[in-house]
Amino acid sequence: MLDIKDTPTDDHADPVTADPRAFAAKVAAWVPHDIVLKDAWFPLAHSFAVTKKPVRRAVYSQPYFLWREGGKAVAAETHPAEGLNTGKSAFTDTAGRYPVIEKYGYVWCWFGNPANAAPEHLPSLPYLPEDGGLPLHMLGTVRFDCTAPLSLENLIDLTHADFLHADVVGDEKMDKETVEVFHDSETITMVRSCVNKSVAPVMKRFGGVKSDVQQVRQVIRIYLRSHAAIAYGRFSPGDNVQLFHPCVPETRDRTRLDYAMNTSNVKKSNPFRYVMPKASYKVSRQDSFMTSPQSPRYMRPEKRKDLHSPLDEAGQKYRVLMLALAERQARGDFAYRDNVSADCSEIIGYQKS
């Protein structure tokens, strides 16, 4: 786990399109529990949570202690009360400190070789203010009792929402559904378009939507290494939903989600602005209801292959891309081949309000 030599390789074949049989084999070989990707920024805390008093976080059990020195966020491997008595790993500099960036209202810490930490590897999040400052009611913490990749596979397969979260975001009734998937070596983006979908109950109850159906365009964009996702939904009639969904793998079987749901696009007089961010508390437990029993079943290789429908394209590609990154890293190649910090507004179809 601590072997983080960087040896870029020339193998640039797209693992998704290279060979259908190899693709299928990789989908079937999915053991997310065993994937530990390095050289990535993780949003370990909301900015407001980091003060003079150290708070503790973890990425794959690697300890992080975050606090502020002169107002600047810092992160160390050991608690200041402990000092460096217990030794340090290769993830920190000689002083036991991690590279840190504060952006989008989060304190991001680097997990990997400190020498490779660079601002251009920080994901682009178009609808979060770069300097942070979202009100607290738009921020929160929830946890999933499962491995982080399962949480993200769950997210990118939005058909689950029609069943698991029907009482929040609406059921499966609609006239037409299309799913498109785009990817590069560091990201995967799924666009789901629904025609005349039954209105999300949360919008009907709190958002002032009177219609029985609405047009929906939902985008899930996952930054693979950071395990962080953009969940952007356009609803007509209704307000756009702008969720940042970072799945921090505290251990291989537990996931922390310090979310930000920017509802500043919603009128201040509309209760939806205040209620929707809190829906995460309900939705996350609904997800955990399924992903928690799922997780132990993905801890070891399984002879029986999962079955798939055409709607699972995004999930299957997510698996293959994650495995491709893991294989590259196992070969010592930690280079970023695509730029994750380039503005992705166009890719997700972000409408600035």
């Binding site: 009360a81 913490t141 009792d145 505290e250 955990s288 132990p296 801890m299 070891r300």
Partner: protein
Amino acid sequence: MVDAWWALARSEEVTSAKPINVDLAEQPIVLWRDAEGVARALEDRCPHRRAPLSLGCVLGNGMIQCGYHGWTFDGASGHLKNIPNLKSEAKFPSLYRAAAFAVTESNGFVRVCLDAKAQAPAPSPTGETLPRSGAVNVALEHEHYINALFDDPALVLAIRGVRFTPYLMAELAEQDGRLVMERSCQWAGPRWPSPFSSDFPISLRISTDPRTGESDLLLRDDAFNPLLNATLAPVPAARGVTQVRWRAKLAAHRPGLMAKWLGTGTPFTVLPTIDGAALRILKPSASVHAAALREAIAAATPQAVVA
């Protein structure tokens, strides 16, 4: 199992007043203290007519005498030293002996190794005898018991005012030849639910011997102040029962109201029964790699044998 050192009794349980019976899996063992106060362990079976030696007595010279026909054995070697009715000074052949086991004593536990020639491990330099102690018999097989400790400590123990969460700061991993993990905890009472909590005020570190499952527990707060130390020594006993001896100590200085409250009543309890309904549906998490980690540690220690 053969070359591991098992905590088969708390020090205060073993006296020269009366021998006691313990067992390690299906092996019955008798423990007592000899005239020098040294703990001794023999197979709890007289080689004469198979009566349990623990039903006998400890003589003034520190030897153990079978309560059936009076055969008397030396604790260190197991050799037969006397048959009272024989009225003879004759020496007995070396075959006339009870099986003896190696014994050592540290940190308030009497530890036994089935290999009589085993060298006792060096005592921990920081080791101390924790003042609170107890013992329970749990109707659960040893490995399942330890896995329950890893996956949900609330099934096997209780710490006053502490609620264990499903969330870990560090999953089970090898550290200096031991299995180590750390679980986030909350204080009991009305609290923000753990799945929605950003930070936790306390954590429980568990450091487990990979062979015996003997575990050192450290409860500490988020400023790394130790609040409670405990040692849990689960031993496989007969019929799939796990005998658990434990010792614990509260830190003298415990900052915070809830931490101070730990000192009232019973701060640390090892549960004598396990909730089968909860255990059955407990999803494996921290324990998943325990077996593989044990094997890896054993492989790195050639002389070790996995229990």
